[in-house]
């Protein structure tokens, strides 16, 4: 990132090669639209190129994944909720600083771990993250009290985190 901050196009290309599948994959999952996912990928990387100071410190993969997800979710909301955006656009800097590093994260392993979760925990997590759906909307669609939805999200995330122990370095 230091070299990208110095406007080094080669360093930027390396960054793109390493992270574009993550950004595109998240955008594609949220938007289910090749053209829109490409737009998000291009927007996210051009933003990093033009404003590299947005990323201050911490785990870059975690940061860019969140930026991509938020950008894609913003688009979904613009389409369906007339521009309403309830989610902060970028991850706060202090969050990035506190980010724990993920080591050798494997998409396949995460999918397996997700599949092991009870459906009542997996659904609100996936709906919330990839669906761009707020906790209130999840509660409305499931007919569950808001507190129950939040507890299920927390329990599911803890189980997922536990299942990934070997892939996480603290």
């Amino acid at each position: 990132m230091e070299r990208v901050r110095a406007r080094d196009a080669e360093a930027f290309e390396t960054l793109y090669d390493r992270y574009h599948r993550l950004v595109y994959g998240v955008a594609m999952r949220v938007l289910a639209d090749v053209s829109a996912a490409e737009d998000v990928t291009q927007t996210v990387f051009l933003k990093i190129w033009s404003s590299p100071a947005l990323f201050r410190d911490g785990n870059f993969g975690a940061w860019i994944a969140r930026v991509a997800r938020n950008r894609a979710v913003d688009l979904v909301r613009t389409r369906t909720l007339h521009g309403e955006s309830e989610i902060p656009h970028s991850i706060p800097a202090e969050d990035a600083l506190e980010e724990t590093a993920l080591a050798r994260i494997s998409g396949e392993r995460v999918r397996e771990a997700l599949a092991q979760l009870p459906v009542e925990q997996r659904e609100p997590i996936e709906l919330g993250f990839f669906g761009g759906v707020t906790q209130e909307q999840i509660a409305r669609s499931t007919g569950l009290p808001l507190g129950t939805v939040k507890t299920r999200i927390r329990t599911g995330l803890r189980r997922l985190r536990h299942a990934l122990e070997g892939q996480v370095t603290v």
Binding site: R7, Y16, G25, F45, L102, V110, F129, F130, T134, L160
Partner: protein, 241 residues
Amino acid sequence: MRPHDELLDSVAAYALGVLPPEEAAEVQAHLQSCDSCREEYRYLQPAVTALAYSSEACADATAGAVTVSPLLKARLMKQVRAEAAARQPSRRVWPAYALAAACLALAIATGLADLSLSERLNRELTQSAMQRQTIADLAASTSQRYAFAGGEVVENAGRLYIAMTGLPAPPPGRVYQAWTLAKGAQRVAPSVTFVPSSGGVSIVRLPQSATDLAAVAVSVEPAGGSQQPTTKPIALVHLSS
């Protein structure tokens, strides 16, 4: 004040990014002051990142896999490279010299006379300032440039440089010497002597002001320099007035 378990649930919703802005701000502020909630957030955040990785596109197209069009990279890099080049115009004009200026300690010849100790100390002190000036002048878009085979004469605000690349080391006992022709003069006057770096790069600042000169030349001379050229110049550049 809400029960703490409820706050921990909100921390999970915050990590997942499903809280409305006002509640997200509340949780964020709370994290600053509550160790146990911050610990919970740190624990859960990698799980949220892992969710993102679960949808990472594949490098190779396999049945049903999500892959990224290579055209996307081509479009993006075209724009990025254009912007990078526009930000650093000097690189395109002066690749060899810009590299030399950045990577090598510049040997800036300041004259032939033996220097006294105090003059040497003074020279040390001013050396770095001169190098900065040299780099700025070589890169400046306002500089006047006179190309010749193997290099350029660069003039900016009266300061004059001879910049050469691919310059072979002079024969043993020989050096390169710069010459200046003052406006209206019939004979050239001796200027600095120099030898190129091991990479064949030479950046020489001439002590004379460009505004007084009609031409600049370079020839190979015996070590110590000559009063008049003894060999045919390898470069001769006429300066516009």
